[in-house]
């Protein structure tokens, strides 16, 4: 079956010739009309629309956005904050970059609708430090929106007002974790907080109720407020509603960003039809479907089990190519949709060396607060690095697994899982390659082989 057409909701204008990131262009294209309609409604109605929409967070965990908002402590008497997670850092993910650089007002409109719905009067956009240009673009866009009365005090002639500020990170991946991000805005080291009690919805920024949402998620809120929750929920598939931006990188003919209805496209359609298949003379070997912490999938393996379909349980027997690109299907086969970053590796890649590269990342980015993660990620890096640059041993795979197995579930935040899953899945799927690595190193390295660590 050929791939479906892209459904460009969030990225509607991203590659449009002549579309610029200034207010005038956005307004010419109908911008801020949804905000205008929204502020004439009751805030609770907008929260209901988002609940009905079934929108799931696009940052990584896929948590239902409406539920997140419902958990907010609205009776504390303390101010409520919105924190926009624009710390896009999960390797393989590059969607927020284009929203911020090319269509910042779409994000600001989504922020303002969200703030109005949740009675938030101050929002912070936490943008990663490596987007200095993006931060300047956002600051300019906020100033434009403020001058046009779309944010700031008494927006659009109402009694409601909200200020948006840009806060730049400084190169630490852990700031993408919502409680680490909050600590970072508070001017501290971004050590994630323990939950309970520090659920952001209750004890978030400055110990006040706080919503933390991803950039893409907030853009969806605008379209939900526009179309209505029911209509939005008919885009995509049940429990996996809306559209999703899939970022494809690595060894395909046409890497890039593609927006599809969630669950309407399979991995095979995405990689072969949309991205043009493998590079000349190569074959696909492995794919990481949701950012580098998602468990790796191997071409040629099959996934079997039972799944829900229209209220009943049916058997499924999928090859990697048959997997629908949605939250539930990818979780069902033991990986995750995560942040939508699809990293493709072909037969030129040594899985030992690829894992060594990933382990170096997680070891560098562990905040160091919890011993299993700090030490575990470091030792996984040291072992894989030794395998590549020093002596490799046939039993290294088992050793790596023994380290990884002691991290997940023993840390304050999900980084423990994020750093353990690559090692666990690489060993589970490509264990033979790890065993054979010491032997394979004796052969001269091909001149074309690329260094990964």
């Amino acid at each position: 079956m050929p791939a479906p057409e892209q459904f460009r909701l969030i990225f509607k204008h991203i590659d449009e010739p002549g579309y610029t990131n200034d207010l005038a262009c956005y307004v010419r294209n109908g911008g801020y009309e949804v905000l205008r309609k929204s502020v004439a409604r009751k805030p609770e109605e907008i929260v209901d629309e988002v609940k009905k929409s079934g929108l799931r967070g696009r940052g990584g965990a896929g948590f239902p956005c409406g539920v997140k908002w419902t958990l907010l402590d609205r009776k504390s008497g303390k101010p409520i904050y919105l924190v926009v997670n624009a710390d896009e850092s999960e390797p393989g993910t590059f969607k927020d970059r284009y929203i911020i650089h090319n269509d910042p007002h779409q994000l600001i409109e989504g922020i303002m609708i969200t703030c109005f719905a949740n009675k938030v009067e101050r929002a912070y956009i936490y943008i990663r430090g490596e987007f200095p240009e993006g931060a300047r673009i956002l600051e300019k866009a906020i100033a434009e929106a403020r001058a046009a009365n779309f944010c700031g005090p008494n927006i659009l002639g109402t009694a409601y007002g909200c200020e948006i500020y840009v806060h730049r990170g400084a190169g630490a991946y852990i700031c993408g974790e919502e409680t680490g991000l909050i600590e970072s805005i508070e001017g501290k080291r971004p050590y994630p907080r323990i939950k309970p009690p520090y659920f952001p919805a209750v004890l978030g920024l400055y110990q006040c109720p706080t919503i933390v949402n991803n950039v893409e998620t907030l853009c969806h809120v605008k379209h939900i407020a526009d179309r209505g929750g029911d209509a939005y929920s008919r885009i995509g598939t049940p429990n996996n509603t809306g559209t999703r931006i899939l970022c494809v990188s690595g060894h395909v003919q046409r890497p890039g960003y593609y927006e599809f209805e969630v669950g309407k496209i399979t991995m095979g359609q995405l990689l072969f039809d949309v991205c043009g298949g493998p590079l000349p003379g190569r074959t696909f070997k492995a794919v990481i479907p949701g950012g580098s912490s998602a468990k790796v999938l191997k071409f040629g393996e099959r996934y079997k089990g039972k799944r829900k379909s229209g209220g009943e349980m049916v058997d499924y027997d999928w090859g990697l190519e048959d997997i629908p690109m949605d939250f539930d299907s990818l979780a069902m086969i033991g990986s995750m949709g995560g942040s939508g970053g699809v990293i493709v590796m072909d037969d030129s890649v040594s899985m030992v060396e690829a894992l060594a590269n990933i382990n170096a990342f997680y070891s560098h980015e562990s905040c160091g607060q919890c011993t299993p993660c700090r030490e575990g990620s470091l030792w996984m890096k040291k072992i894989t690095s030794r395998m590549v640059h020093g002596d490799a041993r046939a039993e290294d795979g088992a050793l790596l697994k023994s380290v990884a197995d002691q991290i997940a579930g023993r840390t304050i935040c999900a980084f423990g899982e994020a750093c353990a899953w690559p090692t666990q899945s690489f060993i589970a799927k490509f264990g033979d390659e790890f065993k054979a690595y010491p032997e394979s190193k004796k052969a001269p390295r091909p001149a074309a082989a690329i260094e990964l660590v």
Binding site: E88, S89, E90, P91, G92, T93, F94, D96, R97, R128, G129, E130, F131, P132, E133, Y165, H167, R168, G169, A170, G171, A172, Y173, S184, I185, E186, G187, K188, R189, P190, Y206, C247, V248, S249, G250, H251, P255, G256, Y257, I288, S292, G341, I343, M345, V349, A354, N357, I358, A360, F361, H364, E365, C367, I450, E451, L452, V453
Partner: protein
């Protein structure tokens, strides 16, 4: 501390963005580093005094966040992405080429003082790998040949003082 007037103005502008002054520590570190090139001990103490916090509260940020540095770097900062998507598309070759072009090791200031070449983790532009940031600007699909081109351009700009 000898900060430029515009830096001081930006500092005074940013502090009231937050209900708690300490929150402005990161923005102030960015502003001071942009002004001075790096974060000195004097800068740590100055920021702490400005925000009414202890110097250790600022110092612990400098040592944690990778973008802050305690030593000067070259006039131009070349940051090559090291992470998986860039690496499998040749990021290590790109980095080696920059080092060769300027005769410098990783993280060092080149002998002519012109550049510092560094490996950094994911720059979130994986679809156009390998990517490199030179100062604030992102360059896409930088293979070894493009790295040579960019190096030549930096060298030419250094000669004319035009950058």
């Amino acid at each position: 501390m000898n900060l430029r007037a515009d830096t001081l103005a930006k500092i005074d502008e940013v502090i009231p963005h937050y209900p708690v002054k300490r929150s402005a520590a990161l923005p102030l570190l960015h502003l001071v580093q942009e002004d001075q090139g790096f974060i000195s001990t004097e800068a740590v103490e100055w920021i702490a005094a400005k925000l009414g916090i202890q110097p250790i509260n600022v110092y612990e940020l400098v040592t944690f966040y990778p973008m802050f540095r305690q030593k000067p770097i070259g006039r131009r900062h070349i940051k090559v992405c090291r992470t998986l998507s860039c690496a499998i598309m040749g990021g290590y070759r790109t980095c080696a080429e920059f080092q060769k072009q300027f005769g410098t090791g990783l993280g060092e200031v080149s002998p002519d003082g012109e550049v510092t070449v560094e490996f950094v983790e994911c720059l979130a532009s994986c679809g156009t790998a390998p990517v490199v940031m030179i100062d604030d600007h992102l360059h896409e699909k930088v293979d070894a040949a493009k790295a040579r081109e960019l190096s030549e351009k930096i060298k030419a700009e250094a000669k004319t003082g035009n950058r």
